[in-house]
């Protein structure tokens, strides 16, 4: 339909017409906290699962970390559907999604990922409890480490699918970031997961792992930053909704500066300069909280910017491949 039809007698070069500048696409209805939280927690939860398998069982501190991770994942896995239900309205509406498994639908896949992850997570917890002699020792055989690995696998999926969920839509902004948004979300999930873990470890005095976690966190944040920058570079007009105006400022202030650069600096500091334990703990806590905040704002900004991006019919007319 690209070759234009010009009624006789009208001048050749006309601007791309619009229909009274009305949006061509419908505005996403995801304007409330619960959707964003759902996406955020899903990512973090996934990250925890992955870190779970990375941890080195030969180290006491890592074993301790593993236990914390197992319990936290399970808590989040239980919390997340609850959050989604607040969006859908009625509990049974969540069950509608268990009616089918549709490989073409990231949301359907995500829900099943969540379900399987919860299953694996609960087995891991069972194993941890057995190891801690809370449960009978034979439970270990019912819940081998395999579940930990599965949990990691599903976790990895959970870290990324939310990005695909957004980019596989007709939304001009989201669809233009079909590579960048997933990558950014994966990295942000990992950094947030590390932040959460190191935060919890610090609180339970297991500070030995925190530096390892922070190194991974720094790596993830840097990658996330890179992804965002390249997204802005490539998005062009499609990116306006996210990278310009109030949304842009918000993204730069809270995600880039507060959520990525600041923690990076703090973690770098911690990695280079040996600080007295209490001070170091405070530093970790601040860095972690900032990272988590940045991760949340990232998702919130991307989601709400999607609502703005439908407003320009010209952008929506020629949709990104």
């Amino acid at each position: 339909m690209s070759d234009l039809l010009e009624p006789p007698g009208r001048e050749e070069s006309v601007p791309t017409p619009t229909y009274y500048d009305r949006p061509l696409l419908k505005m996403p209805h995801w304007d409330n906290w619960n959707v964003v939280t759902y996406l955020f927690l899903g990512g973090v939860m996934g990250g925890l699962g992955v870190i779970g398998v990375l941890a080195d069982p030969k180290r006491e501190s890592d074993r301790k970390l593993k236990r914390t991770l197992a319990v936290t994942s399970l808590v989040l896995a239980a919390a997340n559907p609850a959050v989604l239900v607040t969006h859908l309205g009625r509990p049974e509406r969540f069950l509608h999604m268990l009616r089918i498994a549709k490989f073409k639908s990231p949301m359907s896949m995500g829900v099943w990922g969540l379900v399987l992850y919860s299953g694996a997570a609960s087995m891991s917890v069972a194993r941890e409890l057995a190891l801690a002699d809370v449960l009978p020792r034979w439970v270990r055989f019912l819940a081998p480490t395999l579940f930990g690995k599965l949990q990691a696998l599903f976790g990895a999926f959970l870290m990324g699918y939310t990005g695909v969920l957004l980019s596989a839509t007709a939304n001009p902004l989201w669809s233009s970031g079909k590579r960048h948004i997933p990558v950014a979300f994966v990295c942000s999930s990992m950094s947030s997961a590390c932040a959460l873990s190191s935060l919890l470890s610090t609180l339970e005095g297991n500070s030995e792992v925190t530096h390892r976690l922070e190194r991974l966190e720094m790596l993830a944040s840097t990658a996330e930053l890179a992804a965002l920058i390249s997204f802005e570079r490539q998005a062009g007009v499609y990116g306006n909704a996210l990278f310009t105006g109030a949304k842009g400022d918000r993204l730069r202030t809270y995600t880039t500066r507060t959520g990525i650069l600041a923690p990076l600096a703090l973690n770098l500091l911690g990695a280079i300069v040996p600080l007295p334990k209490p001070v170091d703990a405070v530093r970790t806590v601040i860095a972690s909280v900032l990272t988590l905040l940045g991760g949340y704002i990232l998702r919130d900004t991307v989601v709400t910017a999607g609502r703005v991006s439908v407003n320009d019919p010209r952008v929506a007319s020629v949709q990104p491949k």
Binding site: E92, R93, A101, K102
Partner: protein
């Protein structure tokens, strides 16, 4: 909030085999979808007319067994509209079934600032009495030596929106009362 969805209903596909629920693009109908049926199927269709412009589109009014109006559409057999209707005709249902409609007698007493409900019988009797009274007061037999037998004290307006039989009845009644100002939209 009360549970409103019966999962078995949603899942059920005549006891569908679960494999149909998993795949690239599962396509499972709920029981409601399977039993879905147009509300007019089997309903009585009454031939009527559109009451708006004068093109004279024939309509079909579908009525349920308990006499409720279900739907109004064009009559495909009509040589005039062949089943088609304009927006007004398509909305005939909303003209008849509409809670804004006044379906009781409303009476506004002299100097009153509101309507009050009154029994139909009362209103009709009152109007009949007033008609007689006014006719008695205003009927004129002769005007400067010529028989006129009319009353200018009563007038009637309307006709184009109701049937020819009704026009005939109104005209016959009014003429017999001596009313001369009998008018309708033909001049509007």
């Amino acid at each position: 909030m009360k549970t409103t969805v019966d999962l078995t209903k949603l899942l059920a596909h005549d006891g569908a085999d679960l494999r149909e629920h998993v795949g690239m693009l599962p396509n499972v109908k709920s029981q409601r979808t399977q039993s879905l049926k147009a509300r007019i199927s089997g309903a009585k269709a009454v031939t009527s007319l559109c009451c708006y412009c004068a093109v004279g589109c024939s309509t079909l009014a579908y009525v349920s067994d308990d006499g409720k109006l279900l739907d109004v559409e064009g009559n495909p057999e009509s040589p005039i509209n062949a089943g088609h209707l304009c927006p007004k005709g398509s909305a005939l249902f909303g003209l008849t079934v509409n809670e804004a409609r006044w379906t009781t007698v409303k009476y506004r007493a002299p100097y009153s600032d509101r309507y009050e409900e009154r029994p139909l019988a009362w209103a009709l009797e009152r109007i009949a009495q007033l008609t007689k009274k006014t006719r008695e007061e205003t009927f004129v037999r002769e005007r400067n030596g010529k028989r006129v037998n009319n009353t200018l004290g009563i007038a009637s307006l309307g006709g184009a929106t109701f049937g020819i039989e009704e026009n005939y009845m109104l005209g016959k009644l009014m003429h017999s009362l001596g009313v001369v100002s009998i008018e309708n939209q033909a001049r509007i």
